[in-house]
Symmetry: C2
Subunit: 360 residues, 2 copies
């Protein structure tokens, strides 16, 4: 364990991709969508607890999610939770967390982790994290770059330069989501990595970068942290009103002077859809991932999830269907082909249009 190491877990997701499981008040990170029995955020916090103890773990989430997030991370001290008054993308909350860490420990080193990803090989993950922490402790803001396993057009890429120390490379540039041809080029290049959304930095380095690139945000945070603790929550709410909605990538990283990337591979998945949940799930010989009691006859490659909480026994029977997601909650049932599972947002949009906000 590194004494000065803090974790900031970003848990502000809006949660439409896993409807009907995910809702505005129950976004993906609070759900056990992956192959583990834990919620994704609990799995994220558990995954790093050998490096960062509970008292140096911060959870940045929306105020509307604070209660439920505290519930699934009940072993964390209540001071661990930073409630963002308004969703303003990642830069404001990472900046806020950096100020908070500097206040607690001027030598603090921060790892920022998304709360809703899957890691298949936790040991390889921790190895990469350690390397990134060491790199960032030497100065450069460091990211983890994932070795592409397919020409994915849905992610941003990091183009790496020379190796600066063993297992660490300079960042040549950040690249936006590419088109298909370019994605294929990147996947084959050996110097492009998926941007994992995991950042490592010395809190004072991030503070200096925010002062340089987002000076009004820095001034606002200085004002907040000059106040007595009891007045800070209200001051943060006022500042968030004014902050621009901007990502840390765009607001800081892409303009930063010294950046490093740790190339890594640890069975990572962004768990972006029911399709991916099926890919990661345990399946029977016919490729079905379903509750133990389900009746499956001539059914292949289906994902069945019974997420009802009313405790009533219910049998789910699939006969002769292939490649479907069948997802049940207390108040909704979704049937959608796996391969179209990213289209679940049309249901969310339709329910919003009908004024059925209780269902989204």
């Amino acid at each position: 364990m590194i004494d000065d190491l803090f974790a900031v877990v970003l848990a502000g997701g809006s949660g439409t991709r896993f409807w009907p499981a995910s809702r505005r008040l129950m976004p993906k990170q609070l759900l056990a969508i992956g192959p583990e029995p834990d919620s994704l955020i609990a799995a994220t916090v558990r995954r790093i607890e050998s490096l960062v103890p509970a008292e140096r773990t911060l959870i940045a989430t929306g105020v509307h999610l604070l209660d439920e997030t505290r519930r699934v991370l009940s072993w964390l001290p209540s001071a661990a939770f930073l409630g963002e008054p308004i969703a303003k993308n990642t830069a404001p909350c990472i900046a806020w967390a950096s100020w908070e860490v500097v206040r607690r420990n001027p030598n603090g080193v921060v790892m920022v982790l998304p709360s809703d990803q899957h890691v298949g090989d936790p040991q390889a993950f921790l190895d990469a994290v350690r390397r990134a922490v060491e790199s960032s402790a030497r100065g450069p803001i460091t990211t983890i770059g994932l070795l592409p396993t397919r020409p994915e057009t849905g992610y941003g890429y990091i183009e790496a330069g020379a190796e600066s120390s063993p297992g660490v490379r300079d960042v040549a540039r950040f690249v936006e989501k590419p088109d298909r041809a370019r994605a294929e080029e990147y996947a084959a290049s050996g110097r492009h990595y998926w941007n994992s959304g995991m950042f490592f930095f010395r809190a004072d380095v991030m503070q200096a970068a925010v002062r340089e690139h987002l000076p009004e945000m820095a001034a606002g945070l200085d004002r907040v942290f000059s106040l007595p603790p009891a007045q800070r929550a209200r001051a943060i709410a006022e500042e968030f009103e004014r902050f621009p909605s901007i990502s840390i990538d765009y607001g800081v990283m892409e303009r930063a002077r010294s950046l490093a990337v740790v190339p890594a591979s640890f069975g990572w998945s962004d768990l972006g859809s029911w399709q991916v949940a099926w890919e990661l799930a345990s399946k029977d010989a016919q490729g079905n991932a379903a509750p133990a009691g389900a009746v499956l006859a001539g059914a292949r490659g289906n994902l069945v999830r019974d997420l009802r909480t009313d405790g009533r026994e219910r049998v789910i029977a699939l006969v002769g269907v292939e490649g479907l997601c069948v997802i049940e909650t207390d108040d909704a049932l979704l049937v959608i082909p796996r391969e179209r599972s990213q289209d679940v947002r049309v249901v969310v949009d339709e329910l919003k249009a009908r004024g059925r906000s209780e269902l989204v």
Copy 2:
């Protein structure tokens, strides 16, 4: 109304084809599976009430179904219900009903109707029934033969002979379920009709036919009806133990001397599967039959039924799926392609094999 006319509605169905809606204790005829809001049996009784009043309507059902059957036919007198102690196919219960009718009215004419069919044109149905009643009053056991609308291999056929009176033909013979080639021949022949399972006869004629062809059954029923009313239920139970399990077609009709058929066409359906329920249901422009609140996006030709009774609001969303049946009850969810809906029995078999008798 014909004063001597009685109706015997056969309501002994076992109900696996509409699982999860139908159960051992809730077979098809007790469900509102068709396009009408009524249960099929209630629709059957209502359909003939201009011809047969409640006090001359008998309902033959299994003892285990008596309570629920009385509930959906609450306006019938309780003496209307004949509870079969054991399912022994149609001959024993039609014979029993014939003895009962003779006891009430020696000149009684009986129409026997299945309880679980759909009639699209009730006026044409009543016209055919009137013709069949008149024919049977003249002596011959009379059936309604339905004009085939397709080369169906799932039904028995009646081969008609000469016209004996307007709209009534002699029966040349009964034909078992044919193979495909023969079914095509029958459908085109102009003298083969589907056996509708509707029979019309003078009760004394049926009694004589049973005495001739099933003499032990006749003796048993004579014994029962020689007893005081209070002792008959127990005696019937004893006799049913001994009765063979045999259909009226095989036990009586195919051996009877004088048989007639009334060819007819009245939008009849045996409502044999969820597929047929979909065919008869009101559908939207995309061919979906679904509850009003359902969200259907790129979904075509689906049958969605929400038969839960817990009163909790629940949205059903189908995205990009085609030709599915999605059937929900309080304790089960079925997803099956419409065209395979006759395979629902594999689920029933599987649940029985697992000892989940509460679900079948």
